[in-house]
Symmetry: none
Subunit: 199 residues, 4 copies
Amino acid sequence: MTTHSAKPEDKRTRILNAAIHVFAENGFFHSKVSDVAKAAGVADGTIYLYFKNKDDLLISLFENRMALALSSLEEAVAAAEGPEGKLRALIRRQFELVAETPEVAEVLTVELRQSSKFMKEYSPAAFADLLKLIAGIVREGLADGSFSTNIPVTHAARMLFGLLDEVTLNWLLSKDKFDITEATDWVVAFILGGLKQGK
Amino acid sequence: MTTHSAKPEDKRTRILNAAIHVFAENGFFHSKVSDVAKAAGVADGTIYLYFKNKDDLLISLFENRMALALSSLEEAVAAAEGPEGKLRALIRRQFELVAETPEVAEVLTVELRQSSKFMKEYSPAAFADLLKLIAGIVREGLADGSFSTNIPVTHAARMLFGLLDEVTLNWLLSKDKFDITEATDWVVAFILGGLKQGK
Amino acid sequence: MTTHSAKPEDKRTRILNAAIHVFAENGFFHSKVSDVAKAAGVADGTIYLYFKNKDDLLISLFENRMALALSSLEEAVAAAEGPEGKLRALIRRQFELVAETPEVAEVLTVELRQSSKFMKEYSPAAFADLLKLIAGIVREGLADGSFSTNIPVTHAARMLFGLLDEVTLNWLLSKDKFDITEATDWVVAFILGGLKQGK
Amino acid sequence: MTTHSAKPEDKRTRILNAAIHVFAENGFFHSKVSDVAKAAGVADGTIYLYFKNKDDLLISLFENRMALALSSLEEAVAAAEGPEGKLRALIRRQFELVAETPEVAEVLTVELRQSSKFMKEYSPAAFADLLKLIAGIVREGLADGSFSTNIPVTHAARMLFGLLDEVTLNWLLSKDKFDITEATDWVVAFILGGLKQGK
DNA sequence: CATGAATGAGACTTCATTCAT
DNA sequence: CATGAATGAAGTCTCATTCAT
């Protein structure tokens, strides 16, 4: 009756997964802890055995999922050749992730902004790492001559992130989802050539 | 005393201004209606004479401020020459607005995203108009040969918006604000030339 | 533009009439003073020039309408011959009044009970007068031998009132209103002969 | 301590009992949910674990108490012989119930009328059953010749109910309560013989 | 007299969190 | 470890009443 295999970790994960669903559906503020508990199939009080409070649940979720996303992106980048290839791989993988787990993307995209404002101090480590990943590619491109710009690298990285972020959000909110491959092409083209590409 | 009696509009405006402050400071969900009332120097109940409920206050605020921002941006664009000039004017004015009224920018940037998720259906008309403004410039540039890209115009416009949006957010959250003029230059450079500018 | 003929009394009456409508529709507790004002075509504050507060409005309304109803009932009774005739006249007039002004009946029937509980001490004078009117008929009937009962007259009067009251309420709440003449016949028959009439 | 742990039903019942007290004392509209909670010895929020809202509390109370009263009345009627005996038993039991639990009677008598107006559609099932019980006795009396009237049975039943209801209310509001036995006698006499009894 | 914008006390209700079992 | 009934603080909103015009 009781599966002994259910390690504590399992339950923590189940709660996080449930939280993703619930937060993606209703947003963090409109979500009730008891909804998460119900979705996770645990009692309300159980949440508090694994998380300090509701905020901690959101933060843990960010950390958990951003780390996952980041490593997936890093993996894709690592497997690609050259700055342009890496950039394309990064963007493509990002869109793949979004398409595979839109609920995760929704929470990360929508709630993170809100929260990083509130908890002001808070900004998930993985977020900084993502910026670093992007910056690294840009830096590499500048070094080997693939890219050429005098925009400070960190700012360029942020702009790239914002661009991806917005396209992601747009995709999440749109009814008739556009095609990921196409999206990748556009974004890469835009990033590489700006509005003067082909020139 | 100065102006003989406060017209209704005055009070509504005062409440909206107060709401901007309060929402920018604490975020919409952490703000209490009574805080807005206090900041506006009116009784709690007075809020409800001008707005249906707390949500309506936020929506009204969006509508009001986005319309103002939009007309300012349109004005700047209208005064500029050529697609590139217009693009630069748009971006520069955007950053000027952000620098002048960071609280407004904060609410529009942070809360709007959250809200466009919840009120899903809701999206301020002015937001669509802003996208149209951007798209118009891009289209003009494509027509006269200033720009050249095969990215669909609406998607390009969205990407431009996301890029601006993110840079804005980054500026708002950063402690040591970067210089607007520089920001304008970077962003324009990035948009026009992408990472291959100069090539 | 201003009809000078609108004597203060007119406005007071207008407010009372409006209150009848509103209270009958929504009940006293669910009715807003501003609804009454709107229905009366006056400003909210004007209500307070004629009535001390919301409760006073209800009380005044009771007094006003019960007095009207009472005098109508008294008139009907006075015009009738003999105890039986008077009883029948009373009952018939009661039903006529109910049919003519159901809203008034509704307020008097439904709200008065509630109120006589709250305002415990309060009980409109006209109500006592109505009981007296009924008691008088009973007493007259006992004196001339038309009636014969050893129930104390005041209690008999109360029972008669309750019976009428309930039939009235039933009529008000029922969809397919029964015929007044028939109702009169039944009630008179019941009162005169009880369940053993004809015996 | 006595009974090991309070079953949920216990707490629900405690709240209902508290509500009776509070509503009888102040009336439904003037009663605060927090007053009921205080009287029940529970937290405000606990009320909402057992009842949807304040209105539901009142409705549940009606249903609960009317059902109890009805079964008591039915029991009394069942134990009596013949239509007259049953009628007398019904009336006597009604007055006994009122004397034993005047607060319950007060709520049922005063608030029910108000409510059946508001919640218009709402009318407790037990109320209809009570009318059926009365109608059954009348019908039985007509069948065996104990009673004789050409008033439609359902209307007769309603009149009987109204009569009882009013006498009950009168007793509740009067200071020097009359004697139940006498009241039973009067009412029975009135119902059986009308004002012409003895004839 | 009349207005109606403004007030602000207070009610209902929600829900994060606790803790006895 | 897990539960989920209970808590009670806190927030939104209503509306009777006032008062400056």
